[in-house]
């Protein structure tokens, strides 16, 4: 018996000791070391951004890089305020370039002003905006991944391993924020410029003295541009799903449109007459039409009320994306105005519907805004300042003096061309000053 007993004790002790505390450490964890970083010495040869950009020679012909080139530059942008999203720009002395990394919170890994290195083998070189519109990308060469099957020449890298095996961080203590170059009218890019002809493309620049609004190619005065969708779950290219707020007097008095702010714009009625659709295809009514509103039916419907709702739904023109929301709700927000509508049924019976009218029919979402300006000088060059609705300064109200022309704007941001138009994208609201 003793043998058995002691055997059990021995087995138990053995089993207990086997990796007892090895799998999980429950003491005080030490802070990990700072990441190791790379320097230019870690690479055989560094190619300049201008050199790399020059390899892209034909519109519409993105290609995979296989020649072992490495570029480096300092990060000029940050996605923290939200105006840049999933990509960053770097610049060296020869030019700037966008790296389409495709991750959120990039500024946590690639600090503004930090040097980074891109090992280009396996990555793709393409042109921004080439596939959209009909004016080509015009010089904005960018690094991404194979964009085959997408709407763009390059796609985001996205995958962590793909990113980590191609993008290397320099010394995080060596932060030198990129200093913008102030450009005069003559230094701004022409419609077909490339880095070769305008080395400021993709770099941080300052343009001063901007006047609100511009005159477009059709000699029309334009002040702002917003592209909205009735339903972002639906095809965004479908004409019936698109609303262009553009031209003069758009009423857009903010640098971006947050989701929350759309409420006030949509319910103000000032866009009620805006036609739904792309240019030449305005067959879907206007923003103010009932089919683009959401009707929260207040009373839990009886049969007649449900028929009345059906009548309203059938009134939506064919092809329209919107549909009347038939939520029966007594939990609408308490301060919404209750309206009534008499609906005549097929049998001639009239039913009074009580409802709250809101605009989810036209999706309430954050939208980017392009505010149009004219660069001082003889050429009257147009310049867009683009700000995202997801930016943390999206709802910042523009100085009224800008609209009256009594004040001008100085902007600092990354200079780009989109279909021949000059754009400046700012990191933060402080990059826009009003004088």
């Amino acid at each position: 018996m003793k043998k058995i007993f002691y055997s059990i004790i021995a087995i138990s002790a053995l089993v207990s000791c086997k990796g007892e505390f090895d799998p999980v450490f429950t003491g005080q964890y030490k802070n990990p070391k700072a990441y190791e970083y790379v320097t230019a010495d870690d690479f055989d040869k560094i190619t300049t951004i201008a050199e790399l950009a020059s390899k892209y020679t034909a519109h519409g012909a993105p290609f995979e890089m296989t020649d072992g080139c490495v570029i480096h530059g300092r990060v000029s942008t940050t996605d923290q305020p939200g105006n840049f999203y999933k990509s960053l720009y770097i610049q060296d002395g020869t030019g700037g370039m966008e790296i389409k990394i495709g991750q959120n919170g990039l500024t946590n890994n690639y600090l503004e002003g930090q040097e980074i290195f891109i090992a280009c083998d396996g990555l793709w070189l393409g042109e921004y905006g080439y596939k959209s519109g009909d004016k080509n990308g015009n010089g904005m060469v960018q690094i991404g991944f194979d964009g085959t099957g997408t709407d763009y020449e390059t796609s985001y890298l996205e995958n962590k391993l793909l990113v980590d095996t191609h993008i290397y961080r320099g010394n995080p203590s060596d932060i030198q924020k990129v200093q913008p170059v102030t450009l005069a009218e003559a230094q701004l890019p022409a419609q077909n410029a490339t880095i070769a002809s305008c080395p400021y493309l993709g770099t941080m620049v300052t343009v001063e003295g901007l006047q609100y609004g511009w005159t477009n190619a059709y000699s029309e005065h334009e002040t702002a541009f917003v592209l909205m969708y009735i339903n972002s779950q639906m095809d965004k290219k479908n004409s019936a799903n698109r609303i262009f707020i553009s031209g003069d007097g758009t009423g857009v008095d903010r640098w971006g449109l947050s989701k929350e702010r759309m409420d006030s714009y949509l319910t103000s009625g000032m866009w009620d007459d805006v036609q739904i659709g792309n240019a030449g295809d305005y067959n879907y009514g206007s923003v103010g039409d009932k089919q683009y509103k959401n009707l929260y039916i207040i009373d839990k419907g009886n049969e007649l009320q449900e028929k009345a709702v059906e009548v309203l739904q059938k009134a939506v023109p064919a092809g329209c994306v919107a549909r009347i929301n038939t939520v029966y709700s007594n939990t609408y927000r308490g301060d919404d105005e209750i309206k009534t509508e008499d609906v005549t049924l097929e049998g001639g019976e009239t039913v009074t519907l009580r409802y709250v009218e809101t605009y989810p029919g036209i999706e309430r979402a954050a939208y980017s805004v392009s505010q149009y300006f004219t660069v001082p000088g003889s050429k009257k060059l147009g310049l867009q300042i683009r700000t995202s609705g997801y930016g943390k300064f999206a709802d910042a109200i523009m100085d009224p003096g800008i609209f009256t022309g009594s004040k001008t704007v100085t902007v600092t941001g990354v200079l780009t061309l989109y279909q021949g138009k000059i754009q400046v994208t700012v990191n933060r609201l402080d990059d826009i000053t009003v004088k």
Partner: protein, 985 residues
């Protein structure tokens, strides 16, 4: 020899005593709950402390002491597998006193079961939505097996949620005040102190509480109930923790009227299967009883289980397959080469109670109890702001995010998918930080996140979500034996609970502070600094500076949840010859409310004086923008009248046959966790909140004779008006939303069978257990979906396909020869039937066949085979709405409905388990022993025990359909052992 002499002396004394009188004592020894005879029970008759006779009960449990003089006697009654008891009897006028039934409670023979192991991680977002049923030995074959033997597969008896099982300690109902969950984790590791307990199952009557329809477990918990003596044990196992050491002492009743007991334990280490899971838990129990004569007794005890435990998480099958391991746990990662778990539960919740028992005579007993539960209960999780999701198995890290064979997913980059697959190659050690939590990266992000003052603002942190309860019970119950046929029990229960719910900063991960703002609010209200504040009052009082949280600081949310519950109950038990009748009634009043301690920027409400709160930066009226919602202050009360009624009948026939039936109706208050739309942020009640109603009935036949034991029970239960609240990110809204369902109805019907048959070889027996039920949903609940940031209602409808999925009729297209959906003349698709949807996460068919062998030399062996079938995945209600089935185009097609609404059924599972044990006695005083259990002998690692559907949607490239995200699963562990060594004296 000494023993023989003693027996002879006792026998002589007995004969002498008998010779002196004509009176006597007779009765029948029965199992207290099952009411079946206890054959061979040992009875010791004493007078003034001197034993004057002993005998064994007959096969039918009957006994008779004859030839007794008038006087007071004490009978000690005991039997194998039962707790011993004492009965005081007075013999008068030379008559034979008939005690009718002397009840014995079944002893818990599962001292090594650590019930908490199955329950303690069953809190929010651990992945499991509920815990398995834990039952303890009621000397019933079915309960013995279903209670613990099925727990590996997380079997829930009759498919009921754990909150329906009532768990009492020292006469106090201990179910969690706000979730209803059974509270085993409060005493996990105190197996010896809590060993003495009784369990009733289903609707069966239990005299000390009404209970509901899923049984009552009553843990005695006082020092006098702890087994007398010293006991030490060491346990090692491969499925939970590596080592448990436990020591217990109980004095038993001392001459001076005191009983004292203490129980301590420590549980340490990880396990063989799930990396990152570990225990560092301690437990203590100290109790004392003091008796003053036979009339007064005061009991006091305090216990707690301080410690921490690392948790596991569920993942998608894609992840498990890539890692080649269904036990993969995404919660941990390496920090400086050491495993660190991001999800750790840290608890210290002392429970203290005092009980005064007054027994003025043999027929009346009154207990007055006060119990207080307090302390802290924290659960860590990663938190991040403006930085990528750090969870390794986040969907964007998986190959399926980049490539799906179906082109309509619009995921067509095979090259990126290949990178993702490579990243998940478990054989490449350099990729460990992709496959597990990358602590190094989070620290490095924080190192470099310098603000204007040069301080590190943490982008990643480890938060600790707290639910810190103060739970006070005042209970009084009375047991009155009105006459030998009629017993009446009753009582009053008062409960007040004040719980603070908040989170605090557990670890800044190398940073200096974390900013107390709501990043989800920032997404929609980025332009308003005021509205993104978690603590608007702080911001307003500190010159519009958000609070900077240091280690240990509260942040995020902070609110009190309150409950007051009062109830009166009475339970009458009448016995007339072989008929037992039981009638129980309970009426109660329940009040719950929320009190916000933070004024959240999104729902600022008004100042206490009613004045509006104005944003000092923008000038916006934050009170107006709250749209009538408030976050700070009281929500006001919701009151519920609750009641229960239970009726039971049982008829016992000679020969060990017993027939019984029960019926009950229960009207219970909703729990706090399902009463508020978003308790973290605001005082908004779920609409149409009402009581939950349940009707339940069962019918049983029992047979217990000559070692043959059988019970067959049929049950039928309907549960109505349940409520469920959940929050998730809605891709169609690009926003975090709250989803409240009301009117969830269920029906549970089935049979239970347990049988034990002795085989011709002495000590060998065969037992069989079957649980076969149909537990289904019987309603399409009403849902209201609101935006978390604005409280705006975005959908309100019935969850159209919750109860069942339509099965559409198909025909062969004469042109193409393909199967197409059949339509009627009006173009409507023809439905030929419906597929029911089942209450999830527990097999609806469970069976076991076991061979049991016990020798006279105290060896025991058991080999059993178990089979489980018809377990279903927990359903996500969003996928059962018309909205999700219709897709972005708003048109429901049969394909979409069938795809979106189908409920996954798990594959059947077969398990083989083995137990062996042996004990030795030394010098008739010391006992050594061991028990070894090996579960899942065939090392089956493909048994799904639960899981859930994610709530995300993928829109098809054609904009016609939505696709579901892959569900997440839990798997049962492979072959595991548990070895326990004990020494007691």
């Amino acid at each position: 020899m000494k023993k023989l002499i003693s027996i002879l002396v006792l026998s002589f004394l007995g004969v002498m005593a008998f010779a002196q009188g004509t009176g006597g004592i007779k009765g029948t020894v029965v199992n207290r709950l099952a009411k079946t005879a206890v054959e061979g029970a040992e009875l010791v008759l004493k007078q003034n402390g001197t034993t004057i006779a002993t005998l064994k009960a007959d096969k039918d449990g009957s006994f008779l002491f004859e030839n007794l003089n008038d006087g007071s006697y004490q009978i000690e009654v005991g039997a194998d597998g039962y707790l011993s008891t004492e009965v005081f009897v007075i013999v008068e006028k030379g008559l034979v006193r008939d005690l009718m039934r002397v009840s014995l409670s079944a002893d818990a023979n599962l001292a090594e079961v650590d019930a908490s192991s199955f329950t303690e991680f069953d809190m929010a977002d651990s992945g499991y939505s509920d815990s398995p049923t834990i039952l303890f030995n009621a000397n019933d074959v079915y309960t013995d097996v279903a209670g613990y033997g099925f727990s590996n597969i997380r079997f829930k008896n009759r498919g009921y949620n754990s909150e329906t099982q009532e768990v009492y300690l020292a006469g106090v109902r201990m179910n969690d005040a706000f979730t209803g969950y059974s509270p085993y984790s409060l005493w996990s590791g105190l197996n010896e102190a809590m060993r003495t307990k009784e369990t009733s199952i289903g609707l069966n009557a239990y005299d000390q509480a009404i209970g509901r329809y899923n049984g009552v477990t009553n843990i005695f918990g006082t020092a006098g109930d702890v087994r007398k003596g010293w006991r030490f044990s060491a346990l090692t196992n491969s499925a939970m923790y590596r080592l448990r050491l436990m020591g217990t002492y109980a004095s038993g009743p001392l001459d001076n009227g005191w009983s004292v007991a203490a129980n301590v334990s420590v549980r340490l280490g990880g396990n063989d299967w799930i990396k990152g899971v570990y225990y560092r838990s301690f437990a203590y129990y100290v109790g004392a009883d003091k008796k003053w004569g036979d009339e007064h007794k005061l009991s006091f005890a305090t216990f707690a289980t301080p410690g921490e435990r690392g948790a596991q998480n569920a993942s998608t099958q894609e992840v498990y397959d890539m890692m080649g391991d269904n036990m993969y746990n995404s919660n941990w990662g390496y920090q400086n080469g050491k495993v660190r778990n991001s999800r750790v539960r840290k608890t210290f919740e002392p429970v203290t109670f005092a009980r005064y028992t007054w027994t003025p005579n043999d027929d009346l007993k009154n207990n007055a109890i006060i119990l207080w539960r307090t302390g802290m209960n924290g659960y860590t999780a990663l938190d991040w702001y403006d930085a990528p999701d750090p969870r390794p198995d986040y969907y964007r890290n998986l190959p399926s995010y980049f490539y799906m064979p179906d082109e309509n997913y619009d995921r067509n980059s095979e090259a990126k998918a290949e990178y993702a697959r490579e990243m998940w190659n478990p054989n490449v050690s350099e990729y460990a930080n992709y496959q597990h939590v990358d602590w190094d990266r989070m620290y490095n992000v924080n190192y470099n996140s310098l603000d204007d003052e040069g301080r590190r603002r943490s982008k990643y942190a480890q938060e600790e979500r707290h639910v810190d309860q103060n739970d006070i019970h005042l209970v009084d119950n009375i047991a009155w034996r009105i006459n030998s046929d009629f017993k009446l029990n009753g009582g009053v229960d008062l409960r007040f609970n004040a719980t603070e719910n908040y989170k605090k900063m557990a670890d800044l991960l190398g940073g200096d502070y974390f900013l107390n703002v709501d990043q989800f609010a920032e997404r929609d209200f980025g332009g308003s600094e005021a509205r993104i504040q978690n603590d608007l009052d702080y911001w307003l009082n500190h010159d519009c500076n958000a609070q900077k949280i240091g280690k240990g600081g509260k942040y995020g949310y902070d609110y009190m949840s309150y409950l007051f519950d009062a109830s009166l109950w009475a339970n009458g038990m009448y016995s007339w010859e072989n008929l037992d009748v039981n009638l129980g009634l309970k009426a109660g009043y329940n009040t719950i409310w929320r009190h916000g301690l933070y004024r959240k920027g999104l729902f600022a409400g008004a100042n206490e004086d009613g004045s509006h709160i104005i944003d000092p930066i923008s000038g916006e009226d934050l009170t107006e923008l709250s749209h009538g919602q408030t976050s700070k202050g009281s929500s006001g009360n919701k009151n519920f009248f609750t009641y229960s009624v239970k009726l039971g009948l049982a008829y016992t026939l000679t020969g060990g046959h017993r027939f019984s039936g029960n019926i009950g109706y229960f009207n219970d208050a909703p729990t706090f966790n399902n009463a508020f739309i978003s308790p973290r942020t605001r005082n908004t009640w779920v609409d149409n909140l009402t009581t939950q109603k349940a009707f339940s009935s069962d019918l049983s036949y029992q047979y217990d004779n000559n070692g043959y034991r059988l019970r067959v029970t049929g049950y039928y239960t309907t549960i109505k008006d349940q409520t469920k609240v959940m929050s998730f990110y809605d891709d169609s809204q690009n926003s975090f939303t709250n989803f409240a369902m009301t009117g969830i109805n269920e029906r549970h019907a089935g049979i239970e069978l347990g049988a034990k048959v002795p085989l011709p070889v002495t000590g060998l027996s065969l037992s069989a257990v079957l649980a076969w039920g149909q537990h289904i949903y019987t309603s399409n609940p009403h849902m209201v979906q609101t935006m978390d940031n604005s409280a705006e209602v975005i959908r309100e409808d019935d969850v159209k396909y919750w109860q069942q999925s339509p099965i559409y009729s198909k025909v062969t297209d004469p042109d193409t020869g393909e199967q197409i959906y059949e339509q009627d003349m009006d173009g409507n698709y023809i439905i030929k039937g419906y597929q029911k949807h089942y209450v999830p996460s527990s097999p609806q068919l469970a069976a076991e066949l076991a061979l049991n062998y016990r020798t006279k030399s105290y060896w025991f062996f058991e080999l059993n085979g178990q089979y489980f079938q018809d377990s279903y995945l927990d359903m996500n209600p969003l996928y059962r709405t018309s909205f999700a089935c219709a897709g972005p185009d708003g048109v429901e097609t049969p394909q979409e409905v069938e795809y979106m609404t189908a409920q996954e059924r798990f594959k059947p599972a077969f398990l083989l388990n083995l137990s062996v044990g042996k004990s030795w006695y030394l010098h008739y005083k010391y006992q050594f022993g061991f028990s070894l259990n090996v579960s899942n002998l065939t090392n089956n690692r493909n048994v799904r025990t639960g899981g859930y559907e994610q709530t995300r949607l993928i829109k098809g490239a054609d904009r016609n359909v939505y696709y579901k995200f892959d569900p997440k699963y839990f798997y049962m562990q492979g072959a595991s052992y548990m070895l326990n060594l004990y020494f007691k004296f």
